[in-house]
């Protein structure tokens, strides 16, 4: 099973990962990190195919991917 790990402290809530995920399994959560950003979170992780599109687009290198 594929999965992603988001370093939430580095997330700046740009949503680039959200729109880049072909399976729509990332969303901006309602939780805030210490810098005040609503960070991205993996939802429906079972849908993740580990394509790493989110990690490629993430400006902050905040996403790592396993497959």
């Amino acid at each position: 099973m594929a999965r992603i790990e988001i370093t939430t402290e580095a997330c700046k809530s740009c949503s680039y990962c959200v729109i880049s995920c072909p399976k729509q399994c990332i969303e901006i959560s309602d939780k805030v990190n210490s810098k005040g950003y609503l960070y991205a979170a993996s939802v429906r992780p079972e849908d993740c195919i580990g394509c790493a599109m989110c990690a490629q687009i993430c400006p902050e290198s905040a996403i790592e991917v396993w497959r």
Binding site: K12, C14, Y16, S61, I63, V65, W66
Partner: protein, 253 residues
């Protein structure tokens, strides 16, 4: 079930645990990432020298793991010339914005390119001065508002956007000129490939290469990151079409 494998790891080209100083949605940090990845793939992180321009580029000094010096505004082309000529085995790149490369550093940019200096230029074009607060750049689009063109860039008064890749393509010496972007994962991958190719050409002693990256500036464009992507694709790509302008290495094949 097959064993789980890590397929995307944060590059060692940026400082472990560091959070960039760039604004949300800014692609400077994306570019720092792919520079690190390209150098890492080539096994060159230990040999990498960054000559940093002035402006938002300066925030990169607290983010990258390579040897680094900061050039005076616009002088990266001259500083990189001095470094590369004195340490020819180092992998040297300049990191410059549009104000740095195309306005105050135009002479240094053109002259280094014209000499065919064997280093790589990473040129970040977002059509505006970011660090100083959104003033007009040579690359600002016609009609685009900036803090020094409050009514929008008016060609009669301010002239037209400068197309640096096209201008540099008029010179004989440059080896590789490509314009890319980082607005989609596919474009990020293509941009990394372009940087890696430019680095490889430098390692092979081929001479001057420039990768222009057309990006957004959500903060100074006054748009949220997603809307800035729309503007980037609709307006910036129209003025600055992506593509390879010159690839002498491909000609040979």
């Amino acid at each position: 079930m097959a064993e789980e494998k890590k397929v995307y790891t944060r590059t060692k080209g940026i400082i472990e645990g560091a959070v960039s100083g760039f604004c949300p949605g800014c692609m400077h940090s994306t570019i720092h990432k792919i520079i690190g990845e390209a150098a890492e793939e080539l096994g060159q992180l230990d040999n990498l020298v960054r000559v940093e321009g002035v402006g938002c580029c300066g925030l990169g000094q607290f983010y990258v793991t390579c040897d680094e010096t900061i050039a005076a505004h616009g002088r990266a082309g001259a500083v990189a010339t001095g470094i590369k000529r004195s340490s020819p085995n180092s992998l040297v790149y300049t990191y410059q914005g549009d104000g740095d490369l195309a306005a105050i550093g135009l002479a240094e940019t053109m002259s280094a390119a014209n000499r065919g200096e064997n280093f790589t230029v990473i040129f970040v074009n977002n059509g505006i001065y970011g660090m100083t607060g959104g003033q007009m750049a040579p690359t600002t689009l016609v009609g685009m508002k900036s803090t020094t063109t409050p009514g929008g860039r008016n060609p009669e008064e301010h002239g037209y956007p400068m197309h640096m890749s096209e201008i540099l393509n008029q010179l004989t010496a440059p080896y590789y000129i490509e314009r890319v972007s980082c607005d989609t994962p596919q474009h990020v991958i293509a941009a990394r490939k372009a940087i890696k190719k430019a680095f490889q050409y430098q390692l092979d002693g081929k001479g001057y290469s420039i990768v222009e990256i057309v990006t957004s500036c959500p903060t100074n464009w006054g748009l949220d990151p997603l809307k800035s992507l729309d503007f980037l694709r609709e307006k910036m790509f129209e003025e600055y079409p992506l593509g390879v302008f010159r690839d002498e290495g491909k000609k040979l094949k």
